[in-house]
């Protein structure tokens, strides 16, 4: 056990799974970087450095740079997975799914069902997501509701370095297509991460803290912001539970409902846009399944229904922060 960054935890997961299974291959744009140049090899190791060092350990047969052709290489991941490899492909920013969604939505996600249960498609599509890096509308979105909507896909959103490693190993070993979303603002966050290989199962929420006054359900980077809000609220005598579902598909509805019923007051914090997002989905689930236990309306804390803006003042106003989360909790507890 030692302190590692979120980035290092992911890198370690890739190293350990590539060492454990020769069928695991990694490809994507600049996953090494520098091909064809006269300078450094593995110059980038991925745009965010997550795949750095894999080349030296596993060679170009298993760590492949691609042209900037997401349709071709994401589709190739599906075809490779169908025929016996376990590809882990990187989409530099999840926003780029726009040019290759067909290969995920119509192809990989549906092979098993369309083909009558005969196909296995063990691929992982890693992508960065999230606002906060001043990257504007095409490099900042949180598109996990789109993937969550599509049957056949599993969708993973780690919030801590520990979960990043365990969930990625689980994703690589999983026999279904997994969308693995890494909030780019978390890469340098550190936490305790075991050195050995381990898995975190899908569909099992993490209960971050427990308190009887209200339940906050939050994903990814929003978990940390909910924790900040909880500290402020504790000083006011409001004690909250925080649930981090960790995967949106499958979704741990059992844990969500358990704490919704226990506190009767729920705030859902979602970095995705509000319409048809996870917050709306979970609010509907609780309204349907735990209506009698509710003591207040379920509140959603989300960005507005706008693209992600560029200027720091605008982007900071776009993202849910601890103050907005705390305010929502005060409203449900005072109801």
């Amino acid at each position: 056990m030692s302190e590692k960054t979120f980035r290092a935890a992911l890198n370690e997961a890739l190293h350990q799974e590539m060492a454990a299974n020769p069928d695991v291959v990694v490809f994507g744009e600049d996953v090494t970087g520098g091909l064809g140049g006269d300078g450094e090899e593995d110059a980038w190791g991925g745009a965010f450095g997550v795949t750095k060092g894999l080349l030296a350990a596993y060679g170009r047969d298993r760590v492949l740079d691609t042209p900037i052709s997401e349709s071709a290489f994401v589709g190739a991941a599906g075809g490779a997975a169908l025929t016996g490899l376990r590809p882990v492909v990187e989409i530099m920013f999840v926003d780029f799914i726009g040019v290759c969604l067909d290969q995920v939505m119509n192809q990989a996600a549906k092979f098993r069902y369309m083909f009558g249960g005969k196909a296995r498609t063990p691929m992982v599509l890693r992508a960065t997501f999230g606002a906060g890096a001043r990257s504007a509308s095409q490099h900042s979105q949180a598109l996990y509701p789109i993937f969550t909507h599509i049957p056949g896909l599993k969708v993973v959103i780690p919030a801590t370095p520990h979960d990043a490693k365990g969930l990625l190993i689980e994703a690589i070993r999983d026999d279904d297509p997994v969308i693995f979303l890494e909030n780019k603002m978390l890469y340098d966050v550190t936490g305790e991460v075991p050195d050995q290989s381990y898995t975190v199962p899908f569909g099992e929420a993490r209960v971050v803290r427990e308190g009887g006054d209200a339940t906050i359900i939050a994903f990814g980077r929003m978990v940390g912001r909910a924790e900040d809000a909880a500290k402020t609220l504790a000083k006011e005598g409001i004690d909250v539970t925080i649930v981090d579902p960790r995967t949106t598909s499958p979704l741990d509805t059992e844990t969500i409902l358990e704490f919704a019923e226990e506190t009767g007051r729920v705030v859902v914090v979602d970095e995705a846009n509000p319409r048809c997002g996870m917050a709306a989905d979970i609010a509907a689930l609780i309204a349907e399944e735990a209506f009698d236990a509710l003591k207040a309306p379920i509140l959603k804390v989300t960005p507005p229904h706008t693209p992600v803006p560029y200027a720091p003042e605008l982007e900071d106003a776009y993202l849910p922060d601890a103050a907005r989360i705390a305010d929502a909790v005060r409203r449900v507890t005072q109801h």
Binding site: G75, A80, Q103
Partner: protein
């Protein structure tokens, strides 16, 4: 033709099976027994047959929405295929895929595809598996002239060259992308597009199963020897409209009559092999009769088969999900 007499008989049987199957599917569709739409491969039999005869069971193909011929040529069983098209539980895909998603991974058929241009990236992936695991297998992407204009095809051709993949792009040019002619929709020259990527490419007469087979063998040999991808632009004919409900008014009756009279790959095959003394008309007639009987039986069985169990609606979405979807 350079095929052995045994291969000639095998080629003819495959082509005749595809033709008989498609005519039967058409009859079932006209009678209202096909729940969805189907895209018939009649007229193109020599392409799937010639290409797939150059492949082994371990080689992979990806197909198109017009995929029955590819499926049969690669070794899918016609009984479950017909049951699938009729939406039966005994179908190739248990009635969940239908005509546009017939797949049988056991024989290397990675699926028909409802998305034009959906397949070429998948073929690159299957070829990557072969290359990484050093299996010696190749992958074939069947695409139409319509898919030739999709970005996925261009991206896949480039990726296949950059990664030096054992993949063959078969552009099956039947002259029509839905109701729009390739003459109008395809700019330039498909062979030259491949050559622009530095890829080996050739144009092939798709009415000659022998020519198709020879070209496919050259491409397969190149791929197996590490020589990288090949594009084959194979010119062929689509005998029916785009789908079974398409009355095909955009081609004149005279054009369609001339097509069936002069450009039928099965008629051409029969004329060539009998004139050359390679096969007797009686041998061809015997194959026709056997195939006819087989397809009749397949249709009867498919009609009689049970629909899928409603409980299967929610199965096989995932390998595992923790609980039912």
């Amino acid at each position: 033709m350079q095929m052995s007499r045994e291969d000639l008989a095998r080629a003819y049987r495959t082509m005749r099976t595809i033709r008989a199957f498609e005519l039967a599917v058409n009859a079932e569709a006209q009678a209202g027994r096909v729940p969805g739409s189907t895209h018939l491969y009649a007229g193109q039999e020599a392409v799937a047959t010639g290409v797939c005869m150059a492949l082994n069971r371990e080689d992979h193909i990806v197909s198109t929405h017009r995929g029955h011929g590819h499926s049969i040529a690669k070794g899918c069983e016609v009984g479950p295929m017909m049951a699938e098209i009729l939406g039966r539980g005994s179908g190739t895909c248990k009635g969940k895929g239908g005509s546009m998603h017939i797949a049988d991974l056991d024989v290397g058929m990675l699926g028909a595809n409802g998305i034009v241009g959906g397949g070429p990236p998948m073929a690159c992936g299957a070829a990557l598996t072969a290359k990484t695991k050093k299996t010696g297998a190749v992958a074939v992407a069947f695409s139409g002239d319509g898919a030739a204009n999709q970005g996925t095809t261009a991206e896949s051709m480039n990726l296949a060259m950059v990664w030096n993949l054992p993949v063959i792009f078969v552009i099956e040019d039947n002259g029509w992308g839905e109701a729009t002619s390739a003459e109008w929709a395809v700019a330039g020259d498909i062979v030259k597009r491949a050559e622009g990527y530095g890829m080996a490419a050739e144009r092939v007469d798709g009415l000659s199963v022998g020519d198709v087979h020879e070209a496919a063998r050259r491409a397969v040999t190149r791929a197996r020897e590490g020589g990288g991808p090949t594009l084959l632009h194979i010119e062929t004919e689509r005998f029916f409209g785009h789908f079974n409900g398409d009355v095909d008014t955009y081609r004149s009756d005279a054009t369609k009559e001339a097509q069936r009279r002069d450009r039928d790959c099965l008629n051409r095959f029969r004329a060539q092999v009998t004139e050359a003394g390679l096969m007797e008309p009686a041998a061809l007639d015997a194959i026709d009769a056997e195939v006819e009987a087989e397809i009749e039986a397949v249709v009867r069985a498919a009609r009689d088969a049970a629909p899928p169990d409603p409980a299967t609606l929610t199965t096989d979405v995932y390998v595992s999900y923790g609980y039912e979807a």
